[in-house]
Amino acid sequence: MQVQYISAFTVVLEVLSRFWPVWIALIIVMGASFLYKKKLALYGQLFDSGVGIAGVFICLFWLFTAIFASTISPFDPLGQIPIMKDTLPGAIEPQSGLVYLFGGDKLARDVFSRMVYGSQIVLIIAPAATGFALMVGITLGLPAGYYGGKIDTVLSFLANLVLAFPVILLFYLLVTPGIMDTPIPYALAGVFFLFPIIFFSVLFWTRYKNRPDRIYILLGLTLIIGGWIYLGLVFDRDPLHIVHIDPNQLNIFVAVVFASSPGVFRIVRGLVMDIKTRDYVAAAQTRGESPWYIMLWEILPNARGPLIVDACLRIGYTTILLGTLGYFGLGLAPESPDWGTAIKDASRLLRSFIHPALPPTFALMSFVLGLNLLADSLREQSMKD
């Protein structure tokens, strides 16, 4: 049976119309941001420059694509329809009458749906791993910068140790199927996932320790929610069976956090060393505030500008790292629709077919570009203040 095709122009129209939930959400959010941009502080200022608007637009586009993935994509990302093998963009699937907008890959899956679903994996792991890396980096970087001395020497040596590891070698050692049989990933996860709990506990304790009405509620909430997620992620023993992560995803997650937290550590340490000489820190010291109060409530809020910029860049970098992992077939399942794996599969067959390679490459590139543009304009706006 011959597969029918629709014209290139129709493909473009069809692709644009498939993204309809994204366009609606984008119009609502961007419109609201424009209207209230005066009241939105730093986020509102982003809308003053073309670069900032472009950055916000691209990031939100992929965010909504990930949220509405099941509505946008016409096919199952893992589903194979044999007749559609290696079809060119615009091929009509005879049974349902729906179109393989970007063609089919060598396993007869819909490239368009895979690209859309791939955004889900990237947009969950990359920001979450960056968040954990920030927690680890901040919690260790604050004392290293503030106290200096022995703590600083030891922590900096450890950070440099990890930074001296070429990322690719680290991944080959840490993200292998064999390592799942050893306790190493779970031990690392156990250590890393402890940091957010420590961070928030200390944060609330230093601020509200003399206000029993607040401290018990806040600390209790931190420990219960943190402990619940911790049980689910590290031991896979969530009593309610809501929090769950696949062992190989946990492994990737841990490796990415491990690779990027020393970078955060270095930035935080440098910022703290700069800020701790300011007058308001001296004032707090004279008031007799505890060191951790000064670090978390005096220094950290004043270091937020560079940290937000770094977080944006780092999410982009983590996306690139995830792509690298996918490209080398490490960690993620071979049929996983994430962009790195898709690029790997397609790049082997570039001589015969190029269409499966292009959607994931442009998706990855545009998302990282959006984050970089966002970071760039954030940096410019925060410099103006």
Binding site: V51, F157, N160, L161, L163, A164, F165, P166, V167, I168, L169, Y172, L173, L174, T176, P177, G178, I179, D181, T182, I184, G316, I320, G323, T324, Y327, F328, G340, I343, K344, A346, S347, L350, R351, I354, A357, L358, T361, L364, M365, V368, L369, L371, N372, L373, D376
Partner: protein, 344 residues
């Protein structure tokens, strides 16, 4: 200055010791050893045979003894054949000592590669040479282009040239090697047919036809980053008093940029270029795998994929050494180039 360098070298040695020990530990985890034993013995071997293979080949000795032997601070004991009681060879393709000798990395013996069935040295150093050629061409392309972009953009901050070049360099930092590699291959190899999508033939002889794509792919990711740093440094220099003085003296803009600004603006990019090497190392692995170029990155992937213990250790030693030595050079060079910075 001298004591600074010596102290840095000491830290470097300590870092390398720690890192190689970590790598040694991770490679010798039980699942990895099992995988090695399975790949090295015949099909369908029982668990006991696998275990006895590991014992015979010395993989079951104490961790620290084995690490010491690899490093060359402990003597390597000859392996005895249980049947004859005489010293035997573990692998047919490389020589084990007949009497206890110090034969480790410190003595220049990197061990045996189980994947390529050769000594590690005979595999690793030609690969390094091949990668060196690739790196050379990448630097030749990357450094002048990125400095030029950075200087042109930073010369007049906020101008149209600056905007265009800045967005272009942001775009290039958003394009990792596996993305640009695919795009370039599609454009230049599949559509236009100007260049070869594989660099496998480059080990016989480098031509423009087979070597441009890997070099281009590897350079493009670094160009953006170095250009951004150069731009930032140039912008800072252009706001200095002495630049204004030179302009007010009546010098032309071009001569102010070339004679006064350039020299000071190029100190920071030097450090950035040096620190770019660890990034390039990851890129080298991706590019060599993508374009099938038989260099260091290709060797590393083969070693890691086949759990080739000695070869992977050799690769990690080399890569860690490169990272640390470039950091050292960047620190020393920075102090050397900028007399205002005095090393404590």
């Amino acid at each position: 200055m001298l004591s600074f360098v010596i102290r840095r070298l000491g830290t470097m040695a300590l870092t390398m010791l720690c890192l190689t020990m970590v790598v040694f530990f991770l490679i010798n985890l039980q699942p990895n050893l099992k995988k090695l034993a399975i790949s090295q013995t015949e099909m369908h071997t029982s668990a006991e045979q696998l275990e006895s293979w590991l014992v015979e080949h010395g993989y079951r000795q104490n961790f620290f003894i084995r690490y010491g032997q690899w490093l060359g601070v402990m003597p390597k004991q000859p392996v005895t054949d249980p049947a004859t009681g005489k010293p035997a060879q573990r692998f047919s393709f490389c020589n084990d000592p007949v009497v206890p000798t110090f034969a480790g990395v410190l003595e220049g013996d990197f061990g045996c590669s189980t994947k390529f069935k050769a000594t590690v040295a005979s595999k690793l150093f030609p690969a390094l040479g091949a990668t060196g050629i690739l790196m050379f061409w990448v630097l030749v392309v990357m450094v002048p282009i990125s400095l030029l972009i950075g200087i042109l953009a930073g010369m007049r901050e906020g101008s149209r040239t600056d905007r265009v070049l800045s967005v272009a360099s942001i775009a290039s930092t958003a394009t990792p090697e596996y993305v640009s590699g695919v795009i370039f291959t599609v454009i230049f190899a599949s559509w236009l047919g100007w260049l070869n999508g594989s660099a496998a033939s480059a080990s016989q002889g480098i031509t423009f036809y087979n070597f441009t794509l890997p070099v281009m792919t590897l350079a493009i990711y670094g160009i953006g980053y170095i250009a951004r740093m150069t731009r930032a440094s140039m912008v800072e220099v252009m706001t200095q008093q002495y630049i204004r003085t030179a302009r007010l003296k009546g010098l032309s803009f071009g001569s102010v940029v070339v004679k006064h600004a350039l020299r000071n603006a190029l100190i920071a990019p030097f450090t950035v270029i040096m620190l770019q090497f660890p990034w390039l190392l990851t890129g080298v692995v991706i590019v060599e795998v993508m374009f099938r170029y038989q260099g260091f990155g290709y060797t590393l992937v083969e070693a890691a994929g086949n759990n080739d213990i000695d070869l992977l250790l050799g690769c990690s030693l080399v890569s860690v050494f490169i990272v640390l030595i470039t950091q050292l050079i960047s620190d020393v060079g920075y102090a050397f180039l900028n007399p205002r910075i005095r090393v404590q």
